[in-house]
């Protein structure tokens, strides 16, 4: 799990020419809270995108995921760590950064020592939770890492919450204006927008099977993808016909 994380970061740093390896090596494979929160956000957005592809999206699931996304973003806005995701990167980002976010399952009390405080103070000591032997080193890395992360991704604005929300959801809607809530519209003609399908395919076929899942059976993770693939096959076919004529 930690190795996955380190590998991912190295790839990213190679692309961006940033050297995070030195800082990371000391972390001993314990991703920071903010990194894992970001990963959870990315995972959720991919899941929402997948909703487009299903027979008819399960509304309860979509609502729960969207609420989770809002929660994360509200927290990030409070922390002041909210950042814009460039539309092109949205498809690729989850693949690079989808790390195990088990740390997020832990209760708030356990996490208090790790969360970045709004004033970015390093003052409070974390609760020592059994099994979190690397907390001190994660703690030490918390601030430099988060700032490095932001530099990595070459993001520009950190404010403008509503605007960035729209930008993220725009990648899901693929140029239809509005927010993620349009996913719940009764009639959504963007379902079969080819761009949306293809973008979603890149995200969906490769995500969701990170190392954190190896202990678990894939369960019913297959059906959405398989229906996506069949959809994509039909769409490919349709496009071929159109192009030829």
């Amino acid at each position: 799990m930690g190795t996955m994380f380190a590998r991912g970061l190295k790839r990213k740093s190679a692309e961006d020419g940033e050297d995070v390896e030195g800082g990371l090596a000391g972390a001993q494979a314990m991703p920071s809270y903010s990194l894992q929160r970001q990963s959870l956000l990315d995972m959720s957005l991919v899941k929402l995108q997948l909703c487009h592809m299903l027979v008819e999206p399960n509304l309860c699931r979509s609502v729960l995921i969207a609420n989770t996304v809002r929660q994360i973003q509200e927290e990030m806005a409070q922390d002041g760590t909210w950042r814009v995701v460039a539309p092109q990167a949205a498809g690729r980002a989850p693949l690079d950064r989808l790390v195990s976010t088990d740390i997020l399952c832990r209760s708030v009390r356990e996490q208090e020592g790790e969360r970045p405080a709004p004033d970015a103070g390093d003052g409070h000591t974390p609760d020592l939770v059994p099994g979190l032997a690397t907390v001190p080193s994660a703690q030490a890395l918390r601030n430099p890492q988060s700032s490095l992360w932001e530099v990595d991704s070459s993001r520009e604005n950190r404010g403008g919450f509503q605007k960035s929300l729209d930008q993220i959801f725009e990648t899901l809607e693929n140029k239809t204006s509005g927010s993620v809530e349009e996913l719940f519209a009764d009639v959504d003609s963007s379902y079969y927008d080819l761009d949306a399908v293809l973008t979603g395919m890149v995200g969906s076929t490769q995500s969701g099977h990170g190392s954190g899942l190896q202990a678990f059976s894939p369960a019913t993770a297959a059906p959405p993808s398989s229906s996506c693939r069949s959809d994509l096959g039909e769409l490919d076919h349709a496009v071929e016909i159109l192009v030829e004529t």
Binding site: Q71, I72, D188
Partner: protein
């Protein structure tokens, strides 16, 4: 164990009968009670030991009875059972599957020759209830999967049930035909018209016995009333109306009228962008035909009274447990989403199932449940992975036993759990082919949470999350349960005398 306190106790004789009369005796004496072997040996020492323990602890011992469905692993997705329901007498057991089929099992009459075996369930009728449809307006498929089956109380020789998929509810009549008329005047035995010139006498057709035929006919189709996916149907205690609930609305129907329904709950916001909560389950009160409850994805339950207003948007009672701030995480809301709500048979309590717990609520106390049972709390630290593979969205159902003293719900790895509300004891059992010897006693299972794993325990990381038990049913008056494990239906009974 006190004299006279456990089932089968006959203190006047100075001894009691245990679960197997020919094997065990529970003897009462002034110095206490003791279990003694007697007579023939059991199928296995382990069974005998379990039987002995059961006698002493008053726990019910569950035995395998039957399994329905194919054995091969590559069964089609259409065979996956999506709902299980006993009828009001327990004589019939219905299942619905993802392929839109309904299979009804009927309990055979108990024969006097086999006192140790209760009546088994055999296939009574199979029919295709729903077909896949295509919604042309939205360019989306409508699945034929049967989401719920609910029986109507029997009022004549025929049986009636409601079955529903995502959009359409159907009323099915299941009736037997064991006679057929013979001796028509105008037609011969093969149904061909007779030449009128050859008819010289008139006769009255008579009914002659024929091989039993069970027919299922759709009597009503209640369609076009739901924009969103139907998750629940519930027959009212007046037996004239029923409700169907989807993600945002609940409709009230009269059985006789298919082209109209009354909308009694509507939580769709004017602006869909503001949608944050959906309806997850709904049920009528078992005795008060004006009351019903519905649960939400935010872990709340609302009790509504239809006498208060036509549109029951304002609840009479609102049940919600305050959140434990120390347990809060990004997944708190998701795991609080209620997947099933059931009234007790008495009508005094409701039971709700969320991802990790089952809760019992007293209708008179809204601010917290009176009982909370942990189903699989060891999953709490795995929520992120379960979110990733979508298991966190699995909708488990829960059921009461006939006397409301025991509740049951499913889990992963084909485990299911029972909680005795009186003794506060619980047990984990498994529905698997390995435990499928006739009348074999089910051995309690245990999940090892950490540290040393004992021999019979299974560790959390070894659980098979593709084997989930979402649907179970309990016979209305006896200790017979039906457990749906993917495409197999297991029937378990308690150990008979």
């Amino acid at each position: 164990m006190k004299r006279g306190s456990h089932p089968g106790c006959r203190p006047a004789l100075g001894c009691c009968q245990g679960p197997r009369r020919d094997q065990l005796q529970l003897l009462h004496s002034p110095r206490g009670s003791v279990v003694r072997w007697r007579g023939q040996s059991c199928d296995s020492q382990q069974d005998a030991l379990l039987a002995g323990i059961g006698v002493l602890t008053q726990d019910t011992l569950w035995c395998f009875s039957q399994v329905k469905g194919t054995i091969e692993i590559g069964a089609t997705e259409a065979d996956i059972i999506s709902t299980v329901e006993f009828n009001h007498t327990g004589e019939l057991l219905a299942t619905g599957d993802k392929g839109g089929r309904v299979v009804i099992f009927q309990r055979e009459q108990e024969s006097k020759n086999q006192v140790h075996r209760r009546g088994e369930y055999n296939v009574y009728s199979t029919f295709q209830s729903h077909e896949p449809e295509f919604d042309y307006l939205k360019s989306l498929e409508i699945e034929e999967k049967i989401n719920k089956i609910r029986w109507l109380p029997q009022q004549n020789a025929a049986y009636f049930l409601l079955s529903t998929n995502d959009k359409t509810v159907k009323l099915w009549k299941v009736s037997e035909r064991d006679k057929r008329p013979e001796g028509y005047n105008l037609k011969d035995e093969e149904g061909r018209l007779r030449d009128p010139a050859t008819i010289t006498t008139l006769r009255v057709p008579v009914l002659r016995p024929m091989d039993l035929m069970v027919e299922a006919t759709p009597r009503r189709v209640f369609a076009n009333a739901h924009t969103y996916h139907i998750n629940s149907i519930s027959v009212n205690s007046d037996y004239e109306t029923y409700m169907s609930a989807d993600d945002l609305r609940i409709n009230l129907w009269n059985f006789e009228i298919t082209n109209q329904s009354f909308n009694i709950v509507d939580i769709k916001p004017a602006n869909m962008e503001e949608l944050t909560e959906v309806i997850t389950a709904a049920e009528f009160h078992p005795h008060h035909c004006n009351s019903f409850v519905y649960s939400s994805s935010k872990g709340t339950i609302r009790l509504c009274d239809m006498r208060a207003s036509a549109l029951c948007d304002r609840h009479s009672k609102f049940f919600e447990e305050p959140e434990d701030p120390s347990n809060r995480s990004f997944f708190s809301e998701i795991i609080s989403s209620i997947s099933d709500v059931k009234f007790s048979h008495s009508g005094r309590y409701i039971m709700t199932r969320d991802y990790l717990t089952v809760k019992v609520w007293d209708l008179n106390m809204e601010n917290r449940p009176i009982e909370t049972y942990q189903v699989h709390d060891y999953l709490r630290s795995k929520l992120c992975s379960l979110y990733e593979n979508d298991c966190i969205f699995d909708k488990f159902e829960c059921v009461w036993n006939g006397s409301d003293s025991v509740i049951m719900t499913g889990s992963y790895n084909n485990f299911f759990r029972m909680f005795d509300r009186n003794t506060k004891r619980d047990v984990t059992l498994e529905a698997s082919r390995e435990n499928s010897k006739p009348r074999a006693i089910l051995k309690p299972r245990k999940v090892c949470v950490g540290g040393k794993r004992r021999k019979d325990e299974i560790s959390v990381d070894s659980l098979d999350f593709s084997k989930k038990i979402l649907h179970t049913a309990w016979h209305p008056s006896e200790n017979i349960i039906a457990v749906a494990a993917t495409n197999n239906l297991y029937i378990f009974q308690d150990k008979v005398n």
